[in-house]
């Protein structure tokens, strides 16, 4: 019986449980005409006890069954096999599984493995049956126990409230735990990288050339993993992008919220926000095919040496891309500044622009800073535009006319194609990932700090 039949059965039982819970509540209260909560709370209480424990056991079972079965099978294998190293055992187990399920195996199957496969198959079907029986038993048992607890004085309403709160807590912890899990897994891979490459080389090295020999007999560069060129490249491009986006975004936000008529605003704001909806790859080829050649040509006219892929091209286009992040958020916070503050300033004889500069913008500053930092983390994390317009050359430079590369671009190039997952080249991606994460984290902490400081001063 496939798993979803079990789930359906539990749901069916739950419906029945709800019904009986309600009915029982009505029955037990019929004589005294007194019931602590409304009848449907007793229904919900019974339904919860019928479904949640059963579903929890189901999930746990499915999560653990394959590991447990595999372990049992391994324990029964002859010691000739169990003494092998981990990788070989993994291979054997794969063979067992594949053989058991009738798929292709790696070469001839020995008698021992065939026996193990049979064992495996038996255990698996046993586990299936046990699962169905046990889970349904739990559902029925849970429902009945809940039914038996129902009495006129039983506080079903409060109990259900608490259970719901518990469920909400669990859901939010899932989000948090997932984040922690991702960070930790990246961190562990990064640590494996630092086992092979000293962290000082990574942090302070000024050369980045991750190509290493894949096989020992291959001739190849030995690899250099200094992240400094990548970080400067990232910061350079983000800086150029912010240089474009912050003034333009802020000014257009001010125009839209303070000067534009309601009709113009209703048209212009959505159009501006479309900028954020353009796929970055479109920006990318716009940058690579239009902006970069334009910059190279006009640089050439001025007698400047401009490489055909430049940080400037990528930064400018990225700046256009993040304008809406700045403008839309700033527009919202500027609109949220109370009209009474503007009236106060105008009423004292300040002009419109003095009012904006000295009252509206300072009052809106925490929100604007938030928008800018959001745009900044977007710029730091942006990949596509940089791949296409800024090149792959890890030059250590702050000259915007040179080609540079960024952390995200290198992560991509390290991980695309066939990779060996324990070479420093691949693991370097995780080290870069964790550094990127740390940079954005620091940025966010600073942002929060600024915002909080203003709050204290101004509220």
């Amino acid at each position: 019986m496939p798993v979803y039949f079990v789930v359906l059965a539990i749901l069916g039982l739950t419906t029945i449980a709800y019904h009986y819970g309600r009915k029982r509540a009505l029955t037990v209260s019929a004589s005294s005409n007194h019931l602590h909560s409304l009848p449907h709370y007793y229904g919900a209480w019974t339904a919860i006890w019928c479904s949640i424990p059963a579903l929890a056991v189901l999930v746990l079972w499915l999560a653990l069954q394959s590991t447990i079965i595999t372990n049992i099978v391994i324990a029964d294998l002859p010691s000739a096999i169990t003494d092998l190293n981990e990788q070989r055992i993994g291979l054997v187990i794969n063979d067992i599984r594949n053989y058991a399920e009738g798929r292709i195996t790696s070469g001839e199957i020995s008698l021992g493995i065939a026996a193990a496969a049979k064992h495996y198959k038996e255990l698996k079907s046993l586990s299936r049956m046990a699962l169905v029986v046990i889970v349904l038993a739990i559902a029925i048992f849970g429902g009945i126990m809940a039914l038996r607890l129902i009495s006129p004085d039983f506080r079903a309403r409060n109990t259900v409230e608490n259970i719901i709160r518990g469920l909400l807590v669990i859901c939010s912890s899932i989000a948090i735990l997932t984040t922690i899990g991702i960070v930790l897994s990246v961190l562990f891979e990064a640590i494996r990288f630092f086992d092979q490459i000293p962290i000082t080389q990574f942090l302070f090295g000024t050369e980045w050339s991750p190509q290493t020999a894949i096989r020992t007999d291959q001739v190849g560069s030995s690899g250099a993993f200094g992240a400094i060129p990548l970080l400067t490249g990232t910061l350079l491009i983000s800086f150029i992008a912010l240089l474009v986006a912050v003034p333009i975004g802020l000014m257009s936000a001010i125009y839209l919220s303070e000067y534009a008529s309601a009709r113009l605003r209703a048209i212009a704001k959505p159009i501006l926000e479309i900028l954020a909806g353009i796929p970055t790859v479109v920006y990318g080829f716009f940058a690579a095919l239009t902006v970069a050649p334009f910059i190279r040509d006009s640089g050439g006219l001025l007698g400047l040496e401009v490489s055909s892929e430049s940080a400037l091209a990528a930064g400018l286009v990225m700046g256009v891309m993040i304008i809406p992040f700045v403008s839309s958020l700033s527009d919202d916070v500027i609109n949220a500044v109370p009209q009474s503050l503007r009236d106060a300033s105008l009423g004292i004889g300040a002009t419109h622009s003095e009012t904006i500069r000295q009252v509206v913008i300072p009052a809106a500053l925490p929100g604007i800073a938030g928008g800018v930092l959001l745009a900044a983390s977007r710029a730091i994390g942006e990949t596509m535009i940089v791949v296409m317009a800024a090149g792959l050359a890890a030059n250590l430079t702050i000259n915007p006319l040179d080609s540079v590369t960024t952390v995200t671009v290198q992560i991509v190039t390290l991980l695309v194609g066939d990779q060996e997952f324990d070479s420093p080249k691949t693991l370097a991606a995780f080290a870069l990932g964790i550094s990127l994460f740390l940079v954005t984290l620091v940025l966010n902490v600073i942002a929060l700090h600024i915002v909080r400081k203003y709050r204290e001063q101004y509220d």
């Binding site: 009236d343 105008l346 009423g347 004292i348 004889g349 300040a350 002009t351 101004y458 509220d459």
Partner: protein, 295 residues
């Protein structure tokens, strides 16, 4: 008595000789029906004077042919049921209505014989001469010091830091707030109590040395004690400033003002000495309002 009935009453006293503002009819080419105000709208030597003012929000008329003088160093209060146009009229006096797109003002308003709606008058500079205090205290989210220094800085009233300090101190002192805040000038103005905030706003208005101060229900968000404190302050300020105050409290009008103007549905119904208005209202609408039959 319902509102409709009150409105249906024709002015029974408009034809009493001597009571009609004599200048109302002068040059009245306005399209709106003339409404004759009871009482003397004119004073000798007025600081501001409004003649035949009509105000429209889009097509809706909010002020109908109002003429009124505001005398030198007097406190004039404007009372009337809500929505009758008191705030609208007050905001005409410093052209704050300019900031509302749909608002249109007709008629003539002068400040010291200068037409404030003429082309040569800069609305921004006018607002430095005719200051305003709003219904809800609205200090800037800045320090107490910066709240007061804001106006003088914008208008370049202080040439040095010490001059600015002096302006801040005297303004706060005139608003009766100096002793309470002198040790916390760098603290945010929004951290003060409601009454203190309103006095801070008054000090902020005073700091640019206006000739007239307009107050739109300045005490409606304050508790009785803070209200009493602000009323005292208004009385003191009368020595140096002309004050027009909108209030919904008749007791307040009686306590602080020398003259009172009663507005009803965009019309200026009656104006006169505060004592007269409250003890001996001439117009039935005024009487109905101050005896509390509607409001």
């Amino acid at each position: 008595m319902s509102k409709a009935n009150i409105y249906a009453i024709e002015n029974p006293v408009t034809h009493q000789p001597g009571w009609i503002g004599s200048r109302v009819q002068e040059g009245s080419e306005n399209t709106a029906s003339p409404y004759a105000t009871v009482g003397n709208i004119a004073v000798p030597n007025p600081r501001m004077s409004a003649r035949s003012v009509n105000v429209f929000y889009d097509e809706k008329q909010a002020i109908n042919n109002v003429s009124l003088d505001i005398g030198l160093n007097e406190v004039i209060s404007m009372i009337g049921p809500s929505g009758c146009g008191k705030s609208t009229f007050l905001r005409c006096l410093n052209r704050m209505n300019d900031t509302i797109d749909i608002c249109r003002v007709e008629g003539e308003i002068t400040l010291q014989d200068e037409n404030i709606y003429s082309k040569s008058m800069d609305a921004v500079l006018l607002r430095a001469r005719v200051g305003m205090v709003f219904q809800k205290p609205n200090p800037f989210p800045k320090s107490i010091y910066d709240n007061i220094a804001y106006g003088p800085k914008i208008h370049g009233l202080a040439r040095s830091r010490s001059e600015l300090n002096e302006i801040v101190e005297t303004s706060l002192a005139k608003a009766g707030l100096w002793d309470e805040v002198k040790d916390r000038l760098t603290k945010p103005g929004t951290g003060l109590s409601g009454g203190q905030q309103q006095r801070l706003c008054i000090a902020r208005a005073i700091a640019v040395s206006p000739e007239v101060i307009l107050m739109d229900e300045p005490c409606s968000a304050l508790d009785p004690i803070a209200t009493a404190r602000v009323e005292e302050l208004i009385d003191e300020l009368r020595q140096n400033y002309t004050i027009a105050i909108v209030t919904h409290s008749m007791q307040q009008a009686a306590r602080v003002s020398q003259r009172t103007a009663y507005f009803h549905l965009g019309n200026l119904v009656e104006v006169g000495e505060t004592n007269d208005i409250f003890t001996n209202p001439k117009h039935p609408l005024t009487e109905a309002y101050i005896t509390g039959r509607f409001g």
